[in-house]
């Protein structure tokens, strides 16, 4: 019974803080409302018995949102949260789109023929998850991993204006890189 109460409480808080993302007029508040929402989702996953996934959601989302706040503030021109600003753009279109998506998903939940449980949950869901990922799904995971890594590298390459020729000279012979900020290893 307490589990059910916690589930609904977390669910409600997740939705409310999700809404608050669009109500707050400060970048920082919006970002951290989103984080709160995601932390609640992490809590929901834990309540469902998937400890590992839940805690990882908490871990990853905290770090991600903390970093994202920096970029939001940097690009959205809201220095020190002084200028009140709206998070809403294209209000009508967004409202229509959101309603449609919500209805579609809700309809999916209600109308889908959910299968009956067959068998029983694993004793240790963390271990089950690990063996599944590293066993039958290893190909997916490897592909995903490489795709993500390639994306990161490609993004950095596209974003940076300075390549190794700028840093080490045309013949790449310079002993130390010519960077605006020097690193600590002394290359």
């Amino acid at each position: 019974m307490p589990d059910v109460a916690v589930f609904w409480a977390l669910g409600a808080l997740a939705v409310v803080s999700g809404v608050m993302v669009f109500r707050f007029d400060s970048m920082a508040r919006a970002t951290y409302a989103l984080l709160l929402s995601l932390l609640c989702v992490g809590g929901l996953v834990i309540v469902l018995g998937l400890d590992y996934l839940g805690v990882v959601v908490v871990l990853m989302m905290t770090i991600e949102m903390a970093i994202m706040a920096v970029f939001m503030v940097m690009y959205m021109m809201n220095p020190a949260g002084l200028m009140p600003m709206s998070m809403l753009h294209n209000k009508k279109g967004a409202a229509v789109l959101c309603t449609l998506v919500f209805l579609l998903l809700a309809a999916g939940i209600v109308l889908a023929p959910w299968p009956k449980r067959s068998g029983r949950p694993a004793d240790d869901p963390t271990k089950a998850l690990g063996t599944a990922l590293m066993g039958p799904h290893i190909l997916t995971m490897m592909t995903l991993g490489f795709a993500l890594f390639a994306t990161i590298v490609a993004t950095v390459v596209l974003a940076t204006r300075r390549g190794r020729y700028d840093r080490f000279g045309d013949d790449l012979r310079a002993r130390t890189a010519d960077d605006p900020v020097r690193g600590g290893v002394g290359r």
Partner: protein, 412 residues
């Protein structure tokens, strides 16, 4: 039980002190620092942390304004004392606990410090850690909560980002006395920097650290030992400041303690035993070298072109090189402490190279038309451009200009 009152008595037992030094009050600052050490009171880093505002020097017109801003930024209970003479420091500090306990409890109209200091609504001198006051200073379009919005400009990576006009000093911790650096920042990268002294002008009596050389120039008898003693203390002061900015509080505290011992007339043997390990530790620290090489490079050629003459010229390199020169000179000065020969400053014959040894003060030649710190200040903006905030603090500390000199040279 009166919990608040008891807590307040504990606070009065060792109040954190915001020590602000006015131009020309180096002797008072040293006396207050020694007094704080004796009492075991901590030095506060910002007004928010401080329970007592201790001003070394006698505040006059132009200082009252920015001191008032500092004062209004301090949470209650708080105390305000001024130290007009080095001999007075003990009595002034002793007054602090009394003032803290005596201040009426509860809210009420913000009492200004004695001397009728008022907090100005707009102030361009004291952005230092002052909440909203920190991020303004330019004149831009929009105002939010009475503060101007930032403007945008291209940054070094070709992005168009916010630009912040900010004044650093004069009350930052471990910051050269009386220095204000107006900077334009993007993120924490300094795009432009301009240097100016705090309004009110330098003191008439010249710099504390150059005193032996000035006295010799006036024709008074000064031994070389006395001059070396002052040089050694000056460099220990600079090293202490640099290490404090670099976040190495232990050696910084030792450098300051030894500085006071040197000025207090301790014997050579006694000093060498303590100074040498300190010099070894700082000089030999690979971490410090890794952290400070490449910061604020000032090649000798450039230094010469702006008229720098002292350790900064000898160093011919970055912040770490400058600190190493100080350390070397500290050791050399120590060996000359008992030199009883007269310090001969020949003001007429500035080109006489044989004499330069004895006319070079802690920051450079005291006999030229340009005071050594004037040249250091001229070199500073170029060094600061493109530096990140932490590096900028290290650069300023590694150059450590003494603004009290600005007057001294002309009178020498």
């Amino acid at each position: 039980m009166d919990v608040k009152g008891a807590a307040r008595r504990v606070l009065a037992g060792s109040p954190p002190v915001l020590l602000v030094t006015l131009p020309g009050a180096t002797a008072e600052r040293l006396a207050v620092e020694a007094g704080l050490r004796e009492r075991g009171w901590p030095l506060a880093e910002s007004p928010a942390a401080a329970a007592a505002l201790v001003v070394a020097g006698e505040p006059s017109g132009p200082h009252v304004e920015w001191l008032g801003t500092l004062w209004s930024g301090m949470p209650r209970p708080k105390a305000y004392v001024t130290v007009a003479g080095a001999a007075e420091s003990g009595r002034a500090l002793d007054a602090v606990p009394r003032l803290l306990i005596a201040e009426p409890l509860g809210a009420g109209p913000q009492p200004g410090p004695p001397h009728g200091v008022v907090s100005p609504p707009e102030d361009h001198e004291v952005p230092e850690s002052h909440g909203g006051h920190a991020d303004h200073g330019g004149h831009h379009g929009g105002l939010v909560a009475g503060l101007p919005m930032a403007e945008r400009a291209d940054d070094r990576d070709g992005l168009r980002l916010d630009q912040l006009h900010l004044s650093l000093g004069p009350a930052l911790p471990d910051w050269p006395t009386g220095l204000i650096v107006d900077v334009v920042m993007q993120g924490d990268v300094i795009q432009q920097a301009e240097v100016r002294p705090v309004p009110g002008g330098p003191p008439a009596q010249g710099s504390f650290w150059n005193e032996p050389w000035q006295r010799a120039a006036r024709g008074e008898p000064v031994t070389r030992g006395a001059a070396e003693r002052r040089r050694c203390a000056a460099h220990l002061d600079s090293v202490g400041r640099f290490l404090a900015v670099a976040g190495w509080s232990g050696p910084a505290a030792r450098a300051r303690r030894l500085r006071d011992a040197v000025l207090g007339g301790a014997g050579r043997e006694e000093l060498v035993g303590e100074v040498r390990p300190l010099v070894r530790q700082v000089d030999g620290s690979r971490t410090l070298r890794r952290l400070t090489t490449g910061i604020g490079p000032l090649p000798a050629a450039r230094a010469k072109s702006v008229g720098v003459t002292g350790p900064a010229l000898v160093a011919d390199g970055d912040a770490h090189a400058r600190v190493c020169v100080w350390l070397k000179e500290i050791e050399r000065s120590l060996s000359g402490l008992e030199d009883a020969r007269a310090l001969a400053v020949d003001a007429e014959n500035t080109e006489n190279t044989k004499n330069t040894e004895s006319t070079v003060g802690p920051r450079g030649r005291c006999d030229g038309l340009l005071s050594p710190s004037r040249a250091l200040l001229d070199a500073l903006p170029g060094l600061l451009r493109g530096a990140e905030f932490a590096c900028a603090r290290l650069i300023v500390a590694s150059v450590d200009p003494d603004l009290d000199e600005l007057q001294g040279a002309g009178h020498g």
